[in-house]
C-alpha cells in the first residue's frame, strides 16, 4: 500500500483506507504472508492515530465496520474503537470469539481477557 500523508485525507477516506488494510491483512493471513500482515498493521496504527487526532476523536467513524463481512476488518475496528465505543466494540470482539473466526478470534479473545484483567493497551 502506497504511503500517503494521512492528514490530507477526509474521515471517510481514512475509514476506506482502514478497511482496505484489514482486507489486505486477511489476504496476507490466507497466504501466510506475515511480513505483509505486519506492514499493514503499522498502517492501521497510523490511521488510528490520525482519526484519534481529529477534533472529537473520529475513531467513532470505525463503529459501522463492526458489521463488516471481513473478520480482520471487524477485529481492527473493534480494537481501535474500544476507547470511544467500549460496549459495542466489546460486543464485536465477543462475536469474533463466539464464532471462532480464527485467527482473528484469538486476538479478540486476548483483548477481552485484557479488558477483564484491566491490562488492555487499547483503552
Amino acid at each position: 500500500m502506497r504511503r500517503v500523508n494521512l492528514s490530507l485525507l477526509t474521515v471517510p477516506e481514512l475509514v476506506e483506507r482502514f478497511t482496505a488494510c484489514g482486507m489486505g491483512q486477511h489476504d496476507a493471513n490466507w497466504h501466510g504472508d506475515i511480513a505483509k500482515y505486519n506492514r499493514l498493521f503499522d498502517e492501521v496504527v497510523r490511521i488510528n492515530d490520525e482519526l484519534a487526532r481529529r477534533p472529537g476523536d473520529e475513531r467513532k467513524a470505525l463503529v459501522p465496520l463492526f458489521d463488516h463481512p471481513n473478520p480482520q476488518v471487524r477485529l481492527n475496528a473493534a480494537q481501535r474503537a474500544l476507547a470511544v465505543a467500549p460496549a459495542a466494540a466489546r460486543a464485536a470482539l465477543q462475536v469474533l470469539w463466539d464464532r471462532k473466526e480464527f485467527p482473528q478470534a484469538a486476538h479478540a479473545c486476548e483483548s477481552l481477557m485484557a479488558l477483564d484483567e484491566g491490562t488492555s493497551r487499547l483503552i
Binding site: H26, D27, N29, W30, H31, G32, D33, I34, Y37, N38, F41, D42, V45, P69, N70, Q79, R80, R99, K100, E101, F102, P103, A105, A106, H107, C109, E110, S111, M113, A114, S120, R121, L122
Partner: protein, 250 residues
Amino acid sequence: MAAPADAARARLRAERTEVPGRGDAAGPRHAAARAGAQVGYNPSQPRVPKGEDGAGEWTETDANGTPISKRPKGDRVRLAGDWPSNNPPEPLDDEPKNFTKEPATSAERTSVMKYIARRAVETGVSVAVIVGTARWLLLREAEIVSYNDPPASLDDLRKAVSTPAPGYDIHHIVERTSAEEQGFARAVINDPINLVRIPRLKHQEINAWYQTKNAEYGGLSPREYLSGRSWSVREAVGMRALRIHGVLKQ
C-alpha cells in the same frame, strides 16, 4: 449404496496401502517411482467437458464413475459457498468454493483446511462431505478434523504427548527456538512439563500468532515482546496462546 465421499475415501485407503512409506526398504527414489506409477498418469481419468468451467482439466468421479461436473447440481457433493440453510456466514470473495485443485503453497493449503474445518462447525456438515473427492484433502482429513477438537485440560494435553496421532503435533508451551536462542537449557525446554500434544493446524496457527504484530503487545509481535524476558513470562504467554486459540480450557 455408499455415499460419494465414503467411496472416494475407500479408494484413497486402497491406494494409500500401496504407496510405500518412508521406511521402504528399496529406498525413497524407488518408492517414489512406484508411487508415481500407481497414482500418476491415467489416460482413462475423465476430464471436464468442453464448454464448462475448467474444460480439459482432470476431474474426479463419483461412486458411479460419473464425472462430478456432469452430475446435476443438486446431486453434487456440497461445497462451501453452496450452503442453503440456517443462514450461515457467507464466504468472502477471496475464499475458495471448490477444493479439488490443490493450492500451490503450504500456507494456502493450511488456509483451505482451516476454512473447511470452520465450515463443518458452522453448518453441521461433516468434514468428509465437504471435502468430497478432493484427494489432497482426503490425505489430510485427520488434520482438518482435529482442528475442531474442543479445548482440553493442561493435564490431558500433556498426557497425550506419549501417544502421537495423525493430525497432531507436539508443541512446546515455551517456544523452543527462541528459548534456545536466548540461552535456556535444552533440558528445561524439552522437559515434559513444557510439552503438549495439540492439533497440527492449531500448532501452525499459534506459530504464526507469535510472529504477527499484536495490539495487546504494544504493536510488537509476541516473539519480539518475549525477547530477553524470563522463563515464567514466556510460560505465561505460552499458556495464554493455548487458551486464546481454543486448545486449553479457559
